[in-house]
Structures are given as C-alpha cells and as structure tokens.
C-alpha cells in the first residue's frame, strides 16, 4: 500500500539524532571549520548516540525489509540526514565509519566483514588524472606470491588520514580497462603506504581529505575485496565484476544525498529562525501576489528539498527491499546534490550581510554543500546514469 510516510519508530530516530546534532555538533561547528585538519575530539558522543538509537530501533546489521519498520538503509539515511543537519563536515569526520565501510559491507565476504566491519575504513578511488572516469585508474595491484603489491597515488580520500584502513581501487592490468579493476583493503601502518598531504578546502573542513601514496606497498592476498584474482575473459562475468565495485555507489549515493538533504533543511531552518527575529512568517499556499519574494522562494526551495528527500527515501527503501536501485539512487543524488547547494546559497542571499557573515552558519553551509554535488559522482555523472537507464543506452552510446 502506498504510504510514503515515516512510521513512529523512524520519527523517533529523527528526533533523537536531531537532538544529538543540535547539542553535540552545532556547538563545535565553527571551531572545527576554522581549525582545519584538527581532528575533532568530541565526536565519540555522537557515535554513542547513533549506536544507542540503532539498538533501540532494533535495526539489524543485515538489510531487513522496511516493511518490518527496521530497514537498515532507510534508517541510516534518516539518521545521517539529521546528523548532517547538525554539521556535514563533522559527520564526515566522525571516527569509526567511512565510505570504505560501506564497500566492505557491500562486497566483502563473511571473513572480511567480520575482520574489518567494525574498523574505520576510508575509500580511495580518485587519482590526479582520473576523476569520474574510474575505469582509467592507474594505481596497480600485482600478485607476488601470497601478497599484492600496490603502487600509485590517490587523492581526495575522505578520512584518509584519520581512518584505520583504506579501501583502495587498483587495476590488475591497465590495458584491460574496467574489467581489471579491483578493490583492496590496506591497513594503516603498512610499509610503503604514506599520507602525503591534506587538502585545504572550500568546505567540510572538519573532515580530512588526504593524498595517499602507495609505493611498493605489500598487503596479504586475502585483502582483495569482492571480485576474482584473475581478469574474467567472459564479458558478462567481467561486467559483473566491475558492476560489483560500482554497486557500492548504489549503496552510498542515497547516504550522500541524505547528507545534502540534512544540510538543506538546516539552511532553511536557520534562515527562518533569523528572519523570525525580524517578524517573518511563512505563507504556504499563498499566491505570488500575496507572498513576499522571500516567502515564495522559501516555499519553492522547501518543495524542491521535499522532492529530493522522497526520492532518496525511496532509493533507500528499495535497497532495504532488495530491489535494484541504481537509477533511483542516482536520481536522488542528482536532485539532492544540486538542491542542497542552491538552497544554501540562496539562504545566504536572503539573510544578506548576516547570511554572508561568520556570525552564523549559513555561509558555512553554502561552502559545505558544494562538495555534495561533486563527490560520490558529480551531478553530471548522475545524469548520465539516469539517462542511460531511462533511454536504455550503453555507456558507448551515451558518453
């Protein structure tokens, strides 16, 4: 039965996590925005709140039907939406869970999940010469006896400095394109693995973004995550193999989209709070003749945000119900990524000098928001994915 509403149990999750965001994250937002590269020490509290809430809601480790109220992915999206209402930079900097963890849970085998599932894993894909074009990565992995030898450079690795380990995408044979790409788990402290640099950034300054160097870095054979040691010659098997790697994105995109939604809502809420000090009230459903330009704009932005939110919830619900959600995940990411940025920039404009000033967080939101339309696949990549599926096209037809 069509019912795109949250059951009370998930509303409780919202409330709890919102409170955590408000009381744990917001007070330290500006501090870590200013102190770039300084690891936030207050974050353990947030993890505890999330864990407690998860336990209370009864969300299991494995995906469970949302029908049972406890779908893991919808719960996760809702939780992180609220945490990112607090501060998306701090959320990304919270110890313990990185995008690499999603990869381990998505493609790792049982032993791997058991061994690394609880450790903080970053995800290293991008290279200086390969951004969205992940089939063109040039970091290599060569099997030598019982060890893989990893060589290459990775950039823009979120949590790359502070995490315990990194999921690294590398190729078994650069001339074989995407069929040769595999992901590997490299632990911190492995000889030949160094953090070369931390980026100074427009936003999400609380989170570290690292350049990693792998120079003759040897890791155990069993650190290959999902996919086979040899390159499949059968085309379907090869496609499936790369598809497996890419599938991680179907899981992580709703999460990143959820971040943009939380941030967008934060900007709208803060704008209304500031406006209220000068007497502003909403006028939903009013005509353009009655509404002020601000009332009109905020209603339109709220509508766009709600649209993005429902797309993202749907893509998470599909995951929980084991439906293929690649198109829907990209729809949600495309919409949420761009609208989060638009909202936050518009809110700064609406609040004028106050919006532009560091006295409030609106200007920070509008810096943080930009990356959410870029990482985990840019707006343009999401559009490509959606278009190919809607039009029934291959990546060679629609480039």
């Amino acid at each position: 039965m069509i019912h795109p509403l949250l059951p009370d149990q998930l509303q409780k999750t919202q409330e709890t996590m919102r409170m955590a965001a408000e009381f744990i994250l917001r007070p330290i937002s500006r501090k870590y925005d200013k102190a770039e590269h300084e690891p936030p020490i207050e974050m353990e509290q947030l993890n505890q709140a999330a864990a407690a809430q998860k336990k209370e809601t009864g969300v299991g480790e494995d995906s469970v039907k949302s029908m049972d109220l406890t779908g893991r992915n919808l719960w996760a999206v809702i939780s992180l939406e609220q945490m990112c209402w607090g501060d998306v930079g701090l959320f990304l900097a919270r110890p313990g869970t990185g995008l690499g963890n999603a990869a381990i849970m998505a493609v790792g085998n049982k032993d791997q999940k058991a061994k690394w599932g609880k450790r903080w894993a970053a995800m290293a894909i991008t290279e200086p010469a390969a951004g969205s074009d992940s089939k063109n990565i040039s970091t290599t992995a060569v099997l030598d006896g019982d060890e893989w030898v990893i060589d290459g450079e990775k950039i823009y690795v979120t949590d790359g400095d502070r995490s315990d380990c990194v999921v690294v995408w590398a190729t078994l044979n650069k001339s074989m394109g995407k069929t040769a790409i595999r992901s590997f788990l490299v632990e911190k402290g492995t000889p030949g693995f160094t953090v070369a640099r931390l980026e100074k950034k427009l936003g999400i300054r609380a989170s570290d973004t690292a350049t990693l160097i792998f120079d003759n870095c040897r890791i155990p054979r069993e650190n290959l995550l999902g996919g086979k040691e040899e390159i499949e010659t059968d085309i379907d098997a090869a496609k499936k193999s790369f598809g497996g790697a890419m599938q991680t994105f179907d899981n992580t995109r709703p999460m990143v989209a959820g971040m943009a939604i939380g941030l967008g809502q934060a900007a709208l809420d803060m704008t209304r709070a500031l406006l209220a000090e000068e007497g502003y009230e909403d006028k939903f459903g009013g005509s353009m003749h009655q509404q002020t330009a601000v009332q009109y704009e905020l209603e339109m932005l709220e509508a766009e945000l709600e649209a993005a939110r429902l797309l993202v919830y749907k893509s998470a619900w599909m995951m929980d119900n084991k439906m293929p959600n690649s198109k829907e995940a990209s729809m949600g990411k495309a919409k949420a990524g761009r609208i989060g940025n638009r909202i936050s920039l518009k809110c700064v404009e609406i609040c004028s000098m106050q919006g532009f000033s560091e006295e409030h967080l609106l200007e920070k939101f509008s810096r943080d928001s930009k990356i959410l339309d870029i990482f985990e696949g840019t707006q343009q990549i999401q559009q490509l994915i959606v278009a190919r599926q809607v039009l029934g096209k291959s990546s060679s037809d629609l480039k």
Partner: protein, 373 residues
C-alpha cells in the same frame, strides 16, 4: 519534525486493489482517452460516445451513498490520486471531464444537507454528470486562493452574491452552480445558484489549453438567493482551505499523469530520431533533459502520494499540498516546454501530442478546482 502518527512502514508499492484499479484506468486512458484527445479538442468537448464510456467507468456512482442510488464506497485519497494520474496519462481534458463532476459529487456527499443531497445526488447516477457547475476559480488574480472573488452578503433570510467566476467546466450543461463566495468575516463557503436565478449571467470562455471540454464564465450581479441555498444549510460552514488543498493535490496528480505521458513519448522519439549520424538521444543535452524529466516526474509522483497519504491520516496536510502544488506547477510547465523542444519543429505542430500537453500543463498552478483527492 513530522506531525502525524503511524505504525505503517514506509512503502511505495501499490496494494493489490490499487494495482487493479490502476491497470484498468491506465488501459482506458491509453485506448480510449489518448486516441480521442485531438478530436475532443477540435470539437470543444468529448463525443457522446466517449462520454458514455467514461460514465460506464462508474467512478461517480461508486462514491454516491446507497440512499441516493450509488454504492456508497469511501475512496481513500491515495487511490483517488492514482486514478487521476492514470486518467490524465490519456488526456487531461478528458480526465477532467470525469474528475470535475466527481469532485462536485464528493463535496455534496460530504457537506450537503439532506434536502440538498436528495435534490442533487440521484442525477449523478441516473442522469447527466454535468447538472451542477463548480464555480471556484477566481476571476481576479490578486484574490487569496483560499478566498473568493465573489462576495456574499447576508440580508435577513437572503444572501446577496456579487462577483465573477471563471473556468466552470461544462457550465452550459449545468442547471445549477455551486459557487464559492467570501463573506465579511473572511469565511469562504459554497452556495447553490440556479441558472435561471435573476442576476446570473453566463458566457462561454476559451482557454489556451483544456480545450477538450467547454468552459463558462459566470457573472453574479446582486444575485439574491435564500440562505438555505448555502451548501450544508444556513448554519453550515465548510473547511474551504482544506477543499482547495485537496483540489490542489488533485490538479498535481493530473499534472503527474501528463508529465509521465511526455516522458514516455520523448524517449522512443529521441531514440529513433537521427541527426548528425546518431540518435539525438546520444547527445548529453538531449539525454540530460530527459533525465531531469524523469527525476522531476518521479519526485512529483512521490509528493502527490505523500500529500494524499497525509490527508488519509486526517492530519493537517496544508503545507504538503502547497509544496506539491507549487512543484507540480513549476516542473510540470518545464516538462511541457521541454517536451516540445525535444521534438523541435515537429513538436510545434499538431502531428504530435506534445504541443497539446504544453498547453494543458500551463493550466497547473492556475486551475484550482479540477479534481479532488
């Protein structure tokens, strides 16, 4: 953050019953409405034959109480929205030729006094669907959408109505009009006005779109009616805001059906149309326009469903309906104009339906009372 309570999990799949109705109405839209859309537009109304088929769907008798010859079933709002979406996929005008009388029947069944019910409901089952014209669309644009451009003034046992209403569907077919009017206190209610009442002036108006059905404008000039002609009786007050909001969800559901029609039309067209040696859909500018169309259509769908679901929970759905309606108006029109753009010069001619959808989608955000959920 929410203001509702529910135990039901988040769900976006159709129930078995919803699926059956959906399949039936969507098929009707594709086989009966779509092929007749251009003819109805040229004639300015649906053919008698088509009207008979539409009536045979029995959508209106379904909700008329048994006492007045109907089946007396309560439809939930989500199912109503689904029905509107399915029908508008065929054609928006033709969908409205049933959704407008359905809305009137719903309003009367819910709000009218016993005498009014007895007078007006049976004819929905036995006679014309169009015996009552709904006058809610304001003739002035600066009027609050939750108020009326017709003013109601009490004078003893009588009520004097003054002002104009536009966009009364099948107005010439009607014998009675149900007109919204605002009184001095700011309350907005509905009033039954007979066609032959003194001070009633009817004229035909044509619009940019929705040409598959006839419309009238009504001008009320010192039109004196008895207080008992107020919907529900002299002392009854309707929640007019909720009525407008419900109708806005309905209009958004119609827009959704049309948006889906545009999307389903441009996908094969752009895949087949070759320029510069390749299907034009191989170009990102074309493909991304279609991707956005798909994204906004799906988003509109979820917003319509959520608004209707909130109404079904009997909680305040005003904000959600407002957001949905504004979204439908903005993105509906964008999809309408992109649909023509994707077909280029071909899209500008009557050879393809996209120019018709362009015109109909401009009605969204303007017509307030074309469907309810």
């Amino acid at each position: 953050m929410q203001d509702y309570t529910t135990d039901h999990p988040f769900d976006i799949s159709l129930s078995e019953e919803q699926q059956m109705t959906w399949d039936m109405l969507r098929k009707f839209a594709e086989t009966e409405l779509r092929p007749n859309a251009r003819d109805a537009e040229n004639a300015g109304k649906p053919s008698e034959e088509l009207l008979q088929k539409i009536k045979a769907l029995d959508l209106i008798p379904l909700i008329i109480p048994e006492a007045y010859g109907g089946l007396g079933l309560q439809q939930d709002s989500v199912s109503n929205a689904l029905a509107l979406e399915a029908l508008a996929y065929g054609d928006m005008s033709l969908a409205m030729s049933v959704s407008v009388p359905l809305l009137v029947a719903q309003i009367i069944a819910e709000h009218a006094s016993e005498e009014q019910k007895a007078e007006f409901l049976p004819e929905f089952v036995n006679g014309s669907m169009f015996h009552i014209g709904l006058g809610i669309n304001n003739a002035t644009f600066s009027t609050d959408p939750y108020q009326s451009s017709v003013l109601a003034e009490e004078s003893g046992e009588d009520i004097i109505l003054n002002g104009s209403k536009m966009g009364i569907a099948f107005g010439e077919h009607a014998k009675t009009y149900l007109i919204s009017a605002s009184d001095e206190s700011g309350a907005c209610d509905l009033y039954f006005v007979s066609k032959d009442q003194k001070g009633v002036e009817l004229s035909k108006t044509e619009y940019m779109g929705l040409k598959g059905m006839p419309f009238s404008k009504i001008n009320l000039s010192n039109c004196k009616i008895n207080a008992s002609q107020k919907l529900g009786g002299h002392n009854y007050s309707i929640d007019f805001k909720s009525l407008v909001d419900s109708s806005r969800i309905g209009m958004s559901a119609l827009a959704l059906g049309v948006c889906q029609a545009v999307l389903d039309y441009v996908v094969p067209y752009t895949n087949e149309r070759v320029a510069f040696d390749e299907p034009i859909s191989n170009r990102q500018s074309v493909a991304f326009m279609i991707a956005d169309m798909a994204i906004e259509t799906e988003a509109l769908r979820l917003m319509v469903y959520k608004s209707a679901a909130l109404k079904d929970l009997n909680v305040d759905f005003h904000k959600q309906a407002s957001l949905t309606h504004r979204f439908a108006s903005h993105h509906g029109m964008k999809i309408g104009t992109d649909g023509v753009q994707l077909l280029g010069g071909h899209g500008f001619t009557h050879e393809h339906p996209v120019e018709l959808w362009y015109r109909n989608l401009r009605a969204v955000g303007i017509f307030e009372a074309g469907a309810g959920v």
